[in-house]
């Protein structure tokens, strides 16, 4: 297996140009419009709104202004599939359409997916949705086809400020650590890495530097695996089956005792 590859996204240098979104759509031949979204969102300059089956990169615009708007800041974050080491989508896919590649990335095979939608809700980050053209679940592939050809993903290659950096995850973490130290030294004490350590779903191969709480960027502070309740839920259900069986058996046996000498109602 090749070395795990991923993205490090640093919103402190993002200028919101959306070159990543455009490059992604262009390379992956994703439609520019989708039928549900023909109006402006009214939410800052963000008309992409969210990641889905045709938007595999999404530049979030976070406006943080005072009531009188005298002071404030813009924060832009280019969101993407996190290619989790413990991937919820992969765990719940019933057809084997979602696979882990040799680059430790997570890819949906469109020829296998039957659009059952299990992965849509299972993703802790709400990344996946149905592509209305293929009618299958789709998301960022971390440009698997380009990686196989030794190329860089389209989004990071197009990023003019290196807000999105592609590379081996190990090297990206070193780089991200240095960037956090740099920001701390510059007085930005809130700078933290999101998803760089193994505590979050075994580590995110696409991780972020944040300068505010994750919720501000629409990211869950403690994303969880969808299968966390599988064992307890199954055991509780089996307990229910036992109780239902007992209740039924008790009542039907009771009836039989009271009817022991009754003739069979259904002899033809």
């Amino acid at each position: 297996m090749a070395e795990p590859m991923g993205f490090f996204t640093d919103p402190t240098v993002c200028i919101g140009c959306k070159a990543c979104e455009v490059a992604c759509k262009q390379w992956n031949q994703l439609p520019a419009l989708d039928e549900d979204r023909r109006t402006l969102s009214g939410d800052s300059y963000d008309n992409t709104r969210k990641l889905d089956g045709t938007h595999w990169r999404h530049v979030k615009f976070v406006e943080q202004f005072d009531e009188d708007r005298r002071d404030g800041r813009w924060t832009m974050l280019s969101d993407v599939c996190k290619h989790c080491v413990q991937a919820g989508c992969l765990e719940v896919c019933p057809t084997g359409a979602i696979i882990r590649t040799e680059f430790d990335t997570v890819v949906i095979q469109s020829d296998t997916c039957n659009g059952c939608k299990a992965c849509l809700g299972a993703c802790p980050f709400g990344v996946i949705d149905i592509n209305p053209v293929s009618k299958t679940a789709q998301k960022c592939t971390l440009c698997y086809d380009r990686l196989q050809a030794g190329m860089e993903p389209a989004c990071s290659q197009a990023c003019p400020t290196d807000s999105i950096v592609f590379g081996p995850v190990r090297e990206l973490k070193e780089r991200a650590g240095r960037r956090v130290d740099q920001l701390h030294a510059a007085g930005e004490k809130r700078a933290v890495l999101y998803g760089a350590d193994e505590n979050m779903l075994g580590g995110l191969n696409a991780f972020f530097l944040l300068v505010d709480k994750p919720e501000v960027y629409g990211l869950p502070p403690d994303p969880k695996m969808p299968t966390r309740h599988l064992a307890t839920g199954t055991l509780a259900t089996m307990l229910g089956a036992f109780v239902v069986g007992l209740v039924s058996l008790f009542n039907f046996r009771d009836r039989r005792a009271g009817e022991a000498s009754a003739p069979d109602r259904d002899q033809p």
């Binding site: 296998t112 039957n114 299990a118 209740v247 009836r255």
Partner: protein, 300 residues
């Protein structure tokens, strides 16, 4: 999102619609009716009611099979649930409730078909007698009915376990939906069979037993509901919308009123249970509808 009570609030909708509600209801009835019919067959004498149960189960399964296929965005690829398309090996993931559910419906359908054929051959008194042996008593009948009943319960319960692993608000904030679905499925099925049994041959011992079963199981459901709300913790907030109202009405008319009706009947020695059984079914429908749609009402 800033004050979201659970990480599930950050997930996306799986776009479930009324087809899923239909499936949840019909699947619950199919599984519950077969299970109770098998229990009647295994323990009792009212072969006519059990036969009717088998007759009801098979068409229900055919409908829900169709519903499940139509609900896929690519119905032409439904078979990918059973066959790995690149290797043509069986596709089964024991840790994926949807995979377990797909196989369960298929296997349950097989047993349901055998039971239905056995009931039909016995009913019509057709000359070929072998199919009759696929119903109890007898070893062959046991080999069909017992695993069939187990698969029936799997079909009623896996849907709830599936909700618990789909990471959506409310659904995945408790592990108890599988338990609730299984118990409520058999409750609804008991109410339905009690109605049908009463229609066929009036108040018989088996109808009385079925009435006692749904009353007992409603009491179990109350315990399960309390446990479910406790385990939801802060995520119980997810019910503060229209679907919470539907749920409350569903519990009131599907659990509380039937129990009151049962108590009233016992006290006065008069009827009223058929109406209560109808309420159980109506309440079960409302509760499942509310559960299916509640995450959609929670703003991302």
């Amino acid at each position: 999102m800033i004050d979201a009570p659970s990480s599930t609030w950050f997930t996306s909708s799986p776009h479930w619609n009324w087809l899923i509600v239909v499936y949840f209801i019909l699947g619950a009835l199919a599984g519950g009716v077969y299970f109770l019919s098998a229990m009647i067959d295994l323990t009792g004498r009212d072969r006519r009611l059990a036969r009717l149960g088998y007759y009801m189960t098979l068409p229900l399964l055919l409908v829900i099979g169709g519903v499940l296929i139509v609900d896929l965005y690519r119905p032409d690829r439904f078979w990918h649930l059973f066959v790995e398309i690149h290797t043509l090996r069986p596709m089964f993931k024991w840790w994926v409730p949807m995979s377990v559910g797909a196989w369960s419906v298929l296997i349950f359908g097989f047993f349901s078909l055998l039971s239905c054929l056995a009931a039909l051959f016995e009913h019509r008194d057709w000359r070929w007698r072998f199919p009759r042996r696929l119903r109890p008593p007898g070893v062959l009948g046991m080999l069909v009915t017992v695993p069939g009943a187990i698969m029936a319960l799997v079909v009623t319960g896996y849907t709830g376990v599936m909700l618990s692993v789909l990471n959506r608000p409310v659904w995945s904030d408790t592990p108890l939906f599988g338990l609730l679905f299984l118990v409520s499925a058999v409750t609804m099925a008991a109410a339905l069979l009690a109605l049908v049994g009463r229609w066929i041959h009036g108040d018989s011992p088996v109808v009385a037993a079925l009435n006692r079963i749904w009353i007992w199981l409603l009491l179990v459901q109350i315990v399960v509901w309390i446990a479910l709300f406790v385990t939801l913790g802060p995520a119980v907030r997810g019910w503060l919308n229209v679907w919470g109202v539907v749920l409350a009405i569903g519990i009131a008319i599907g659990t509380v009123l039937p129990l009151l009706a049962a108590r009233f009947r016992t006290a006065r020695g008069i009827g009223g249970l058929p109406a209560a059984a109808v309420l159980v079914l109506a309440g079960g429908f409302m509760v499942r509808t509310a559960i299916v749609f509640v995450p959609e009402a929670i703003a991302p």
